[in-house]
Amino acid sequence: MNLSVKIGNLELKNPVMGASGTFGFGREYEDFLDVNEIGAIVTKGVTPKPRAGNPGVRIAETPSGMLNCIGLENPGVDAFIYDILPKIKKYNTAVIVNISAGSVEEYAEMAWRLDIDGVDAVEVNISCPNVKEGGIVFGTDPKAAAAVTHAVKTHTKKTVIVKLSPNVTDIVQMAKAVEEAGADAISMINTLTGMAIDINTRKPLLGNITGGLSGPAVKPVALRMVWQVAKAVNIPIIGMGGIASAEDAIEFLLAGATAVAVGAHNFIDPSALKVIADGIAEYMQKHNIEDVNELVGALQA
């Protein structure tokens, strides 16, 4: 049975990876699964300079989901390259570095700096809703998204994945723009912007007022967007948004995703990546499917 898939030049052992910001730098999961066996590690978003993130409460539970306004807390690209990468490049799995920056030039520089051994791909976060400099303007304007994509693509030999925001009227337009600009793959979706209020204090629950919604609650929206984009582009899609089971993951593959990422559900079950990859294999066995790629886009609609 073949579980491996290709994202750009990247060959993944299986189509299940940990989503950025929910998988740390991979090492945190060593107690729960064999990191060498997962599809890929997608790192927490890395920025040019270290970031402390947002003040105040950063997490709120919502029905079948959660809001977060971490605000891209991360040690910065230097610390990533010198302290973290050496510790994770030993894993026999792909390392995809999620990057955010405040300008096209900064994105390009990040790409260039990360065009090094141990990094297998960059995932360009043009959609973090929690920080002004996090790229949300890039994420909602096709021209800006294309400019970032082009800049990154011309500054690295690694596979370039562009991560789309769902907070747009027309996700297909965004996807096409980054495809044309040279993206090797698209990942989607990032979080939907949401909010929660404490009615007793009459204050927002989150320090940043709004935050990014993720978890099973958003799955129907994510799946719809993946399906729309898959029909419109020729590059592979890494689908995510609310995946909590092998069944969910298979829905994304059928909708047209070549691989999937698991986000918030890792917090519920830190062995989720393994459980889900195993579940996909089981489903394939049951349905006599030899190659997981047969499932990709196999929706009959």
Binding site: T22, G24, G53, I70, F267
Partner: protein, 254 residues
């Protein structure tokens, strides 16, 4: 520190008072590893809530393979747990974090509200060092903690906001007296931030080693979401309450 996810069986889930329950869970692997000050991140198997919830390990019985949680019903999650019956299963991720470092000499343990929970296990381990307990709560409903602690404590001071039991006022108002009367070598505290800040201040004044146990909203509990971080006062680094804490040197926090 090794963490794992297990499905434990609830052996007891009894009311302590109107809003607080005492739960005993059979979970030998967790009990075996658990140190005082560590916590677990829990979930019912078929939950209407999404995230796990963090609770201090109030006590363990390594022989029986059980852990005890003492929890206050404050919202949807704790209400859900309060309905669990003996024999039902409960998913437990843990033990998590760095607990209290046991220090030599006479200990003072200062707790407020459900922050007193981890001090039970701690005082049991410190029993031979004759720990003094200073616990505070809103009213006499909080007195139940005394029952849990009296076996291990050399002395228990109680404060209540309304004076219905013990000293009327806050723990930190009573604390200077205790520090004067006793030769305290180490302070361990868990409770509301404002209380711990006061305790830490007094500890600095009296130059006594002080550890504080923090509480923050948590999503993952395993150091990946960064929901629980703060900037360390000494280290100037981002610190994770879940995996680097919940217990820190007071000076790193206040």
């Amino acid at each position: 520190m090794k963490k794992l996810v297990v499905t434990g069986t609830i052996l007891l889930n009894k009311a302590v008072n109107e809003n607080v329950k005492h739960m005993v869970i059979k979970a030998p692997e967790i009990a075996n590893l658990a140190e005082p000050g560590q916590f677990v991140h829990v979930k019912t198997l078929h939950s209407e809530n999404f995230l796990r919830r963090p609770f201090s390990i109030a006590d363990v019985d390594k022989n029986e393979g059980t852990i005890t949680l003492i929890y206050r019903i404050v919202g949807k999650g704790t209400a859900e747990y309060s309905r669990l019956k003996e024999g039902e299963e409960f998913s437990i991720l843990g033990p998590i974090g760095n607990g209290f470092k046991l220090k030599e000499g006479r200990p003072l343990l200062v707790g407020g509200g459900v922050g007193i929970a981890p001090l039970i296990y701690l005082s049991r381990l410190l029993k031979d060092q004759k720990p003094i307990l200073l616990i505070g709560g809103k009213n006499k409903d909080e007195v139940f903690w005394e029952e849990y602690l009296k076996e291990y404590a050399d002395k228990i001071y109680i404060t209540t906001d309304d004076g219905s039991v013990g000293f009327k006022g806050f723990t930190i108002q009573l604390m200077p007296e205790i520090l004067k009367e006793n030769n305290i070598d180490a302070i361990y505290t868990c409770g509301p931030n404002i209380m711990m800040a006061g305790v830490a201040k007094l500890a600095y004044e009296y130059d006594i080693d002080c550890q504080v146990s923090l509480e923050k909203r948590m999503a993952c509990g395993i150091g990946v979401c960064l929901g629980c971080t703060f900037e360390g006062k000494l280290t100037k680094k981002r610190r994770k309450v879940c995996t680097e804490g919940p217990v820190f040197e007071a000076k790193e926090v206040f």
